[in-house]
């Protein structure tokens, strides 16, 4: 187990550095003069320009810039964005909101996806099963912005059940609807994955043996069907948590949530390279950690993995 853990952690290192390098390279080495965007149409004086270049290390060769940036990452000194705020404090303000949103989404999709998928899988081939599969297919085919705007309009404006946008500080009650929208499509995937996995496990030899031992039907399902079926589902959920924490751009825009996605959208529009690279680096870290979590959960769920 320890060896498995160490190998997984070692494997994270090249992924981490590789991803940061690619993003940094794309932002700084291929775009034009980064200061031009900051100075606007009127242009800056040469002195201001030189000062800016020194501040962002633009006067250094690319590889030195990159190494200085890496140093910043490890000393938690990410520099300032275009509006002059330290990037770290922007992240500190916005990241918790995104995390809250992502966790609501994952809990929502996990609970309902697994529950509905389990019922569908156990009743494979019935009307109930077909109905749920049809429902999930529709959910998958709706783009997230349609789902977002429609539910904002219906539940937020028409019915007035919840606030249509998320207020400052992002209270949990305001985040419920955006979280469900964000988790909606993944819910359909979780449902299908669970359903197939359960339907397959249900007919496995070891489940028949468990039944033959005289176990109650409830125990057979909870201990022998569900646990074994959860292995692919947990993989999906873990990877999805990473994706949601980094990628809720559309949902955060619709519901006006002050999160990472919203900041990233703004930074890309402004051409704020330092901000983009820092945010993407954060997303990479989240992704890599989420995958590590999946691998660990995998080992917990499936003892055969521990010794691989």
């Amino acid at each position: 187990m320890a060896w498995y853990l160490i190998r997984r952690i070692l494997q994270m290192i090249p992924v981490f550095f590789g991803a940061i390098f690619i993003v940094y390279f794309l932002m700084f080495a291929t775009s034009g003069d980064p200061t031009a965007a900051l100075c606007g149409d009127r242009g800056c004086t040469d002195a201001t320009k030189a000062a800016l270049e020194a501040q962002y290390n633009l006067d250094q060769p690319f590889i030195v810039q990159f190494l200085l940036y890496l140093k910043g990452v490890f000393t938690l000194d990410l520099g300032k964005n275009f509006s002059g705020r330290p990037i770290l404090s922007v992240i500190a303000d916005t990241f918790p909101n995104t995390v809250k949103l992502a966790i609501i989404a994952v809990i929502f999709e996990a609970i309902f996806g697994v529950l509905l998928g389990l019922i569908a899988g156990l009743r494979k081939g019935t009307w109930y099963d077909s109905g749920l599969l049809f429902f999930s297919l529709i959910l998958i085919s709706i783009p997230v912005f349609v789902l977002g705007f429609v539910s904002q309009f219906v539940f937020g404006i028409k019915l007035g059940w919840t606030s249509p946008t998320v207020g400052s500080g992002a209270p949990l009650t305001d985040l419920l609807l955006p979280g469900m929208v964000l988790g909606g499509i993944s819910l359909a995937y979780v449902l299908r994955l669970t359903r197939n996995s359960v339907a397959e496990t249900r007919d496995a030899d070891h489940v028949r043996t468990a039944t033959a031992k005289g176990l109650s039907r409830r125990r057979v399902i909870n201990v022998h069907v569900l646990r074994n079926s959860m292995i692919p589902v947990v993989t999906f959920l873990g990877a999805d948590l990473g994706a949601l924490m980094g990628g809720a751009i559309v949902t955060e825009r619709i519901f006006n949530i002050n999160g990472i996605g919203n900041q990233l959208y703004r930074a890309i529009n402004l051409g704020d390279g330092a901000m983009v690279v820092s945010l993407v680096t954060l997303i990479v870290i989240v992704f890599v950690l989420a995958n590590l979590l999946v691998d660990l959960l995998y080992a917990v769920l499936d003892p055969r993995i521990r010794y691989a």
Binding site: A210, A212, R304
Partner: protein
């Protein structure tokens, strides 16, 4: 259905005073499929008296497992008992309530399933799986109780072993764990569904002996399901023969074996290799034919990764030397893990040779260039054990057989078509079968396709790795005869890898016996079988099921 008239069959004869423990009375079992209802079991009557061992024998699809599973309410969800009645200890359990069924399972009727690899839940420890059996049936389930159940099933160091997972167990150990589960609650009846078919003969013998002793001590009745008539006759008091969902014959084991009445039973008795040894394949003139393959000091080592990345060398094949005579059949026998398949894989060039040499027609194969390997593969072809796995499910039979011809650019489209048709004729398959896919074929047909594919390039040497082990006795007999015929017609050389000594006796001319990577005995079939020199060989020969019956018969 009238239940008042009971026909005096061998089942019910002499059973009038005592209540049978299990009675299937004129049972029919129907499966709902997309193409309509299929009656898998028809009008089947089977009786098991207290303390008795009854064997149901038949090929796959004969309904033998289905009948037994119906008694435990374990039919797949699309199956149901459509007629007749099932009694357990006098109580009608044809359509019991779920509660009654749960009470019945484990406590009254235990089960030992067929495949030890797939019947334990891989994510729970062995001890956990035994413990929940005890718990569910209201028995004490302390660590000591769990360990005792495992010990009773013949598992050594049960206290440590119970904390391990199924994947840390060998097949034999898993089967013992399953026996422990089946017998944990002292059931009155044990249904053993092919309990040892997946195991080596020697392990099979140990486990069956152990099962016999346990059920004798506890007075448990056993319903043994098997395709092996030799095994059934050796272990059971009475044998029931099933074919196509019906009981065709039943009676005391010895009588049935010595004097089979029904044509199907007669056919089965004839086909059991251990009961009627016969010679298949080219006549052995005894003259020293040329050695087409000569193997010298062959060694194969694998690296095994230990904890913390340490690795150790494991010798799978250790200093093995023997020759294969042209036009003859050489068999390598041994238990699983003896290294016999590794030798075959090295000859096929599928595994690297660690040291030693394999010479084919005087040429050392390890020094061949890529081009030479390509030509070499035309001359040496494999047939593998599992015809379900070795054929590509997405390719039709025709394309499967044609592929090697295309890869080696033999002939044009028309001549290849002709060649495939000739091959289908040769393996006695109708030409129309070419359009079918493997999933539409029976096991025997698939293995014939695999043989046709192997013969497509007119090879000199065919390596059969457990080529008939997965087949039913009758089909196995047919495939062996086909292989023998092909050898006579085409002068093929076979290297036959198997754990089944009865098969070896039928088809092989020379035998190599392997144990833990070493060659322990080499000789002609007659010498090895009549006069085995090594204890290990004697041990293997003793383990052939039905052997004693053959000698006393």
């Amino acid at each position: 259905m009238s239940t008042s008239t009971r026909v005096e069959t061998p089942e019910t004869a002499g059973a009038t005073e005592r209540t049978p423990l299990l009675e299937l009375r004129n049972v029919g079992i129907t499966f709902k499929t997309t193409t309509g209802d299929v009656e898998a079991v028809k009008d089947t009557t089977i009786t098991v008296m207290p303390g008795e061992t009854v064997a149901i024998v038949g090929e796959s699809g004969s309904g033998k497992s289905t009948s037994a599973l119906a008694a435990m309410g374990l039919l797949p969800s699309n199956g149901r008992v459509s007629e007749g009645q099932i009694f357990f200890d006098g109580e009608d359990i044809t359509h019991p309530s779920r509660k009654r069924l749960e009470a019945l399972r484990g406590r009254e009727i235990g089960m030992v399933p067929q495949d030890p690899m797939s019947n334990l839940n891989p994510v729970w420890k062995i001890g956990f799986q035994v413990r929940e059996t005890l718990k569910a049936n209201g028995l004490p389930s302390t660590d000591a109780d769990v360990a005792q159940a495992l010990k009773d099933a013949g598992l050594s160091d049960a206290e440590q072993r119970m904390n391990q997972y199924p994947h840390e167990f060998s097949g034999g150990m898993r089967q013992r764990a399953l026996i422990a589960i089946g017998l944990a609650c002292d059931p009155k009846l044990l249904i053993a569904d092919e309990p040892t078919s997946a195991l080596d003969v020697t392990v099979q013998k140990q486990i069956l002996n152990h099962l016999d002793r346990l059920t004798d001590e506890k007075g448990t009745s056993v319903l043994l399901i098997t395709h092996d008539l030799g095994l059934a006759a050796e272990r059971a008091d009475r044998v029931v023969v099933m074919q196509k969902g019906r009981v065709v014959e039943s009676g005391p084991a010895q009588a049935l074996l010595q004097n089979p009445q029904h044509p199907y039973t007669q056919e089965l008795v004839r086909a059991v290799p251990s009961l009627t040894p016969e010679d298949i394949g080219a006549e052995d003139e005894g003259a020293a034919a040329d050695e087409i393959v000569s193997i010298k000091d062959l060694v194969k080592e694998y690296k095994i990764r230990g904890s913390w990345g340490r690795s150790t060398q494991f010798r799978a094949v250790d200093q093995v030397s023997f020759g294969i005579r042209k036009g003859h059949t050489t068999a390598i026998v041994g238990e699983s893990g003896s290294g016999k398949s590794t030798v075959a894989k090295m000859l096929l060039g599928l595994e690297d040779i660690t040291s030693g040499t394999i010479e084919v027609n005087g040429r050392d194969i390890s020094t061949q260039s890529g081009k030479e390997w390509f030509d070499f593969r035309r001359r040496v072809q494999p047939i593998f054990q599992n015809p379900y796995g070795s054929l590509d499910p997405m390719r039709s039979v025709f394309r499967t057989i044609e592929e090697p011809l295309r890869v080696h650019k033999v002939g044009d489209v028309a001549s290849r078509r002709q060649k495939v048709h000739d091959l289908l004729d040769r393996v006695a398959l109708p030409r129309q079968l070419g359009d079918r896919y493997p999933s539409e074929l029976s096991g025997g047909q698939r293995q014939r396709v695999a043989i046709a594919r192997a013969l497509a390039l007119d090879p000199e040497i065919v390596v059969c790795d457990e080529a008939v082990s997965a087949l039913d006795v009758l089909v196995q007999d047919q495939v062996l005869k086909l292989l023998g015929q092909l050898q006579e017609d085409l002068g093929l050389t076979y290297l036959f890898i198997t754990h089944d000594l009865a098969v070896v006796r039928e088809i092989a001319h020379d035998v190599c016996v392997m144990e833990s990577g070493r060659l322990v005995e080499v000789g002609s079939v007659e010498d090895v079988f009549e006069n085995p020199q090594q204890d290990y060989t004697k041990h293997l020969l003793d383990a052939i099921p039905g052997k004693d019956l053959l000698e006393t018969a």
